[in-house]
Symmetry: C2
Subunit: 255 residues, 2 copies
């Protein structure tokens, strides 16, 4: 089966490598940016283009892994063809393809991808859908070649999955960033906090996050909270500290 990738960013990189490893032929990579498409095409030993008019027309599958705001305009720039068009975005409904091509779907891998970090795709939950049962089966089968956890989920639900991922990953990582900033501002090595970060994540395997919650905010320990707010000089960090502490406290009052 012949696959074309539209996009050469973090998701496209990891997904195309996993798909190639599963035995598919990556026929071509498109990106408007030569700097990102060339290294990926090199890794995959395949062709590349930066011109939407040069995208091959006879592939079975077209996988769009682009920034959300680029997706719609790129779709309309590519002439329709008989292949199945698939995007990988959490927050974009499947029907973004509607009216442009007749076969389409979604393959959303729920994971955080960074270019220079290897990842085991087999462990990534993949959420798929399609506009026909035959293409649902096709995408299900492709996803099952790269991941052991494939589920069918409609766009209406997928958007909540993406929102939850923003909290669990992007916002969590920002909490790490702020913690490291506090340490480094006081000449304590940032990596000091890594065992705590690891255990905080590991706990969730055996406790619910609600059971795992610890710290001064649960009881709204005014004494500690006031001292912490005094230590924080950055107004954003003060605001974040205050609003999250209040919200934790509210959640635990009702327990």
């Amino acid at each position: 089966m012949k696959v074309v990738f539209i996009g050469a960013g973090n998701v496209a990189t990891h997904l195309s490598l996993a798909i190639r490893q599963a035995g598919f032929t990556i026929a071509q990579i498109y990106s408007r940016n030569e700097k990102s498409v060339v290294p990926l095409a090199d890794k995959l030993q395949t062709n590349w283009t930066t011109d939407t008019n040069n995208i091959v027309k006879d592939a079975d599958i077209y996988i769009f892994s682009l920034k959300d705001d680029a997706l719609e305009s790129i779709i309309t720039q590519i002439p329709a063809n008989p292949g199945c068009w698939i995007h990988t975005a959490g927050s974009i409904p499947m029907d973004i393809f509607d009216g442009h091509v007749s076969r389409y779907g979604v393959l959303y891998p729920l994971q955080t991808f960074s270019k220079n970090r290897a990842i085991d795709f087999t462990q990534i939950p993949c959420f798929i859908e399609a506009n026909s049962s035959s293409d649902e089966e096709l995408i299900y089968n492709i996803a099952s070649c790269i991941s052991t956890d494939v589920r069918i989920l409609p766009s209406e639900k997928r958007k909540y999955l993406h929102l939850a991922a923003v909290f669990a990953c992007n916002f969590t990582n920002y909490m790490y960033t702020l913690a490291e900033k506090i340490l480094e501002d006081h000449n304590i090595p940032g990596e000091t906090i890594i065992p705590l970060i690891d255990e905080t994540a590991a706990k969730i395997h055996s406790l619910t996050p609600a059971q795992a919650q610890t710290g001064p905010a649960i009881r709204y320990d005014q004494h500690v909270i006031r001292k912490h707010l005094d230590l924080l000089k950055n107004p954003d960090m003060k605001d974040i500290y205050q609003i999250i502490s209040k919200s934790i406290h509210k959640a635990y009052i009702h327990e």
Copy 2:
């Protein structure tokens, strides 16, 4: 060496078990709460009391693991003795013992403890200090029996470590809680998000949190952010989403 524990909460439980396993004698456990002291004394097969006047006077070490707001009042309730008094609190300065006993210090294990979750104490960074070099050595040696990562850190710096831990652990765990709430409100199993949580934490071993940051907030992708804010009905979650997204964006504008 004879050790008395003052407190029977999460930290006291894990620390006393680790200390006993390292070959020390736990002579007694005190807690004002019989319900928590009895099960811990059972586990340690040792004596317990709920009366500060009955605390044994001839131990070498007294370890205070109490809630921050209880610590000061309990210290003054216990008659002074020649042992070395140690507390385990991140945000309380060592000199809380000053004027009451002549030998004192701190042993702060930087970790999140939940009672029903086993933990490998050897991997926990322990931060210690004392009011004399001989007791600094004593506490250093005790800590080295239970952990492979012991560091000397003064109270002035330890308070920032504790503040960083609130972000890296307590606030991070609350991000997990909110993510799980979003999923469960839409009938998606909460554990769906666990591989993402694991990878978000694992990334920090090879990338700095600043390098690991992904998601719509970096570019302040208005389109996605507006859609997410529309999906969030809870005003606290809306506020948290907005303030963290803005702060992430500000941090990345300057890159």
